[in-house]
């Protein structure tokens, strides 16, 4: 039998070498379960390598360029030597957040504040510290929702992660402040593997804003795995704000387990980034669970966006909806794959999905595909996808009112995006995002030297929330 020749990419070699050099050192500080997981994950990766376009899930996303980058696997602890506010300044007017900071994949905080617990028992802090301080609590959930097999990047993350954010909200606690995770890379050519875990106890509530930002134009690869557990009747609002430079790649996998009557609301806003992939897998495991996953992507130049949404109705009486909208300019390319799975016993399921795209140029491209796998017979499911140009009727209506072509175009694009933006419940955040989207559409949104929200200085929503005449 002929032996298959497998290409080993430079980044794979770097990873194997790095693992060999560091595994003994990691073992000293790791929880035994983490050590075991690392070894299982690296052997999976040795066998399967990075994903390629022959795999259905990766058919329209080519990452070969990334695999050939000589990236540094960054896992050093970043010394806390600057004031937090010097690096992470993020002010949204009228919006109280508790900021959690990560620099180059490492939790960034004074040593003694790496993990905190409030009077109500809310734990928030570094994942690495959480494993030391609350080993039983963390081990109960860690790696259980995501697994590590079936995907090369997930395996790499399981083998190489060094830090991330851990949040635990006990039963019955409603967290008032929004938690805001700001992740920044400020060194060139890094690959960063981070791991976040959010656990919400029964009847608890949390709003979490997850920002991925670039602070310069360096090449970088962020490979994040998020695990989220929502126990009975818990509610999570999760906002992902992605504004990275054109040379950055962001791979983002999110796994959610939902118990009975829990409610999940996700809004993924991709404003910029060379290559962004959001994979969200939501397991509806308890009756009465609800899931609303929406997203907006505004891509141009040669950027690539890939949204893969999997919603699994494993039990009866759950509701889910997926709404993704995108504006593709220049030679941008994109993928939307929305999966709905309804198990045989999952009767009385309501599952909806929609993906709408506006292509500004003839060179822009999007592949959109619904995948419905339904084994129950008493269900309501629907899906719809559109790809089109701006509406001529709408353009004429606006221009007939005296609004010039370019302004009319901006206004209609903004109106198109607004269906997703309007799902943001926090008003101050919504106004900031509206402002950012407008500036993005005008081509004025830049990668700032600080958190991107800080660049924003929106008008106050007193009488005129938006001055469209200036769009």
């Amino acid at each position: 039998m002929e032996k298959k020749i497998k290409t080993i990419y430079p980044l794979e070699e770097i990873l194997f070498k790095h693992f060999g050099e560091h595994t003994d050192e990691w073992k000293k500080s790791d929880h035994p379960s983490v050590t075991a997981l690392r070894h299982e994950a690296i052997s999976y990766f040795e066998k399967h390598g990075f994903p390629n376009q022959k795999m259905e899930k990766w058919r329209s996303t080519n990452l070969t360029g990334v695999y050939e980058e000589p990236l540094e696997i960054f896992d050093r602890h970043v010394a806390f030597d600057k004031k937090l506010s010097d690096i992470f300044l993020c002010e949204v007017h009228g919006f109280n957040t508790q900021v959690i900071s990560m620099l180059n994949g490492s939790f960034y905080s004074p040593e003694n504040h790496e993990i905190t617990i409030t009077n109500e028992g809310v734990i928030v802090g570094s994942m690495a510290s959480a494993f030391k301080k609350y080993p039983n609590l963390v081990e109960k959930y860690f790696g259980k929702i995501s697994g590590y097999q079936d995907d090369g990047f997930k395996a790499v993350n399981a083998a190489f992660w060094r830090d991330g954010v851990f949040v635990y909200v006990p039963d019955g606690v409603e967290v008032k402040n929004t938690f805001q995770l700001i992740k920044i890379l400020n060194q060139p050519n890094l690959m960063v593997n981070t791991r976040n875990l959010i656990v919400l106890g029964k009847n608890s509530r949390l709003t979490f804003l997850h920002c991925d930002d670039s602070v310069n134009h360096n090449t970088g690869l962020t490979n994040t795995v998020n695990e989220i557990v929502l126990h009975e009747n818990a509610e999570l609002e999760l906002y992902k704000l992605q504004n990275l430079n054109d040379d950055s790649a962001l791979l983002n996998q999110t796994y959610v387990h939902q118990d009975a009557n829990s409610r999940l609301k996700v809004n993924v806003l991709t404003l910029n980034g060379g290559m962004v992939r959001n994979e969200i897998t939501d397991q509806l495991n308890g009756q009465g669970a609800e899931s609303q996953i929406s997203g907006l992507y505004l891509m141009d130049k040669e950027q690539h966006i890939d949204n893969q949404i999997f919603v699994n109705h494993n039990v009866p009486n759950c509701n889910s909806s997926q709404l993704f909208k995108g504006i593709m300019d220049d030679e941008a390319t994109g993928v939307f794959n929305g999966f709905i799975y309804v198990a045989r016993d999952a009767q009385k399921t309501n599952a909806f999905q929609r993906n709408n795209n506006v292509l500004i140029t003839s060179a822009a491209h999007i592949d959109t595909q619904p995948h419905l796998e339904i084994y129950a017979d008493d269900v309501k499911c629907s899906h719809g996808a559109t790809v089109g140009q701006l509406d001529n009727e709408g353009m004429f209506y606006l221009m007939q009112r005296g609004i010039p072509y370019s302004d009319a175009r901006m206004l209609l694009l903004f109106a198109f995006a607004d269906e997703v933006i309007s799902k943001i419940n926090i008003e101050a955040l919504r106004i900031s995002i509206e402002d950012m989207v407008k500036r993005r559409l005008r081509g004025e949104l830049s990668i700032c030297d600080r958190c991107v929200l800080h660049c924003s200085n929106p008008e106050q929503p007193i009488v005129f929330d938006i001055d469209i005449s200036k769009i």
Partner: protein, 251 residues
């Protein structure tokens, strides 16, 4: 003369719809254009307002002494041409307030005037809202989103009141309106009418003309104006229908 149309020919996708139309409007006048379906009434409105896809193959549209055949729709609008749409477009995510402020400021910029101060704009809006009996909450909503048929048409007249055009074209404004909404719309038009502006009312039925009394009535058939007269012509059409026109002018 405010509007002068000479030997106008208009084609859509190579098919000639308007075939040699002559028509003129002076300030202070109300003209009604009537006629059976598919005779080119809405095409005429589209040609005057500069809609894409309506190709003028021959003839001239002269507005305030200038040939506007090649002008963009926004330039025509800013010079004072307004169209009340038969099917107004919904624009989710853009409030009526913002939309009208944008439109007013576009006009002011065109005339090299500074943007309208917020206070002045609000005052003006309140004033015009009363004219068409529009509720306050309607202007806080997105443009035409979830508006009833009547609300959409009232909203067109409200926009007209704010933009104060010199030439307003009402394209089938009466379609889908109940009698109360029709009265409100007509009342708005009558209050806006002055010696400085003119109206072209495109309608299928005489009903609207009971409330907006025209100075002239024209009948369009096969892409031309085939008959003109006073308001009595509308009543005659109501009584006799269009068949006698068709019999007389069929090619």
């Amino acid at each position: 003369m405010l509007l002068n149309i000479k030997n106008l020919h208009v084609s859509i996708a190579g098919k000639e719809i308007i075939r040699g139309l002559n028509f003129s409007v002076n300030k202070g006048e109300i003209h009604a254009i009537m006629g059976p379906n598919g005779t080119g009434k809405s095409t005429l409105a589209a040609a005057i307002t500069g809609r894409e896809g309506y190709e003028i193959t021959k003839g001239e549209i002269i507005f305030k002494g200038q040939v506007i055949n090649d002008w963009s729709p926004d330039k025509r609008a800013n010079e004072g041409v307004f169209l009340s749409f038969q099917y107004p477009i919904e624009i989710p995510g853009v409030s009526m307030t913002n939309f009208m402020r944008t439109a007013l400021n576009a006009r002011r910029e065109y005339k090299e005037l500074p943007p309208i101060p917020a206070g002045e704009f609000l005052k003006k809006m309140e004033e015009k809202k009363k004219l068409v009996e529009i509720h306050s909450k309607l202007t806080n909503r997105s443009v035409n989103e979830g508006f009833s048929g009547g609300e959409k048409k009232k909203n067109e007249i409200f926009q007209m009141a704010l933009l104060e055009p010199e030439l307003a074209i009402l394209d089938e404004t009466d379609s889908g309106l109940d009698i109360d909404a029709l009265k409100v719309v007509a009342n708005g038009v009558n209050q806006l009418k002055s010696d400085e502006n003119a109206f072209i009312v495109i309608t299928h039925y005489q009903r609207l003309l009971d409330y907006i009394v025209p100075d002239f009535v024209h009948v369009m058939y096969n892409g031309r104006i085939v008959k003109s007269g006073g308001k009595g012509l509308a009543l005659e059409l109501e009584e006799r229908g269009y068949d006698w026109i068709k019999d007389q002018f069929d090619d």
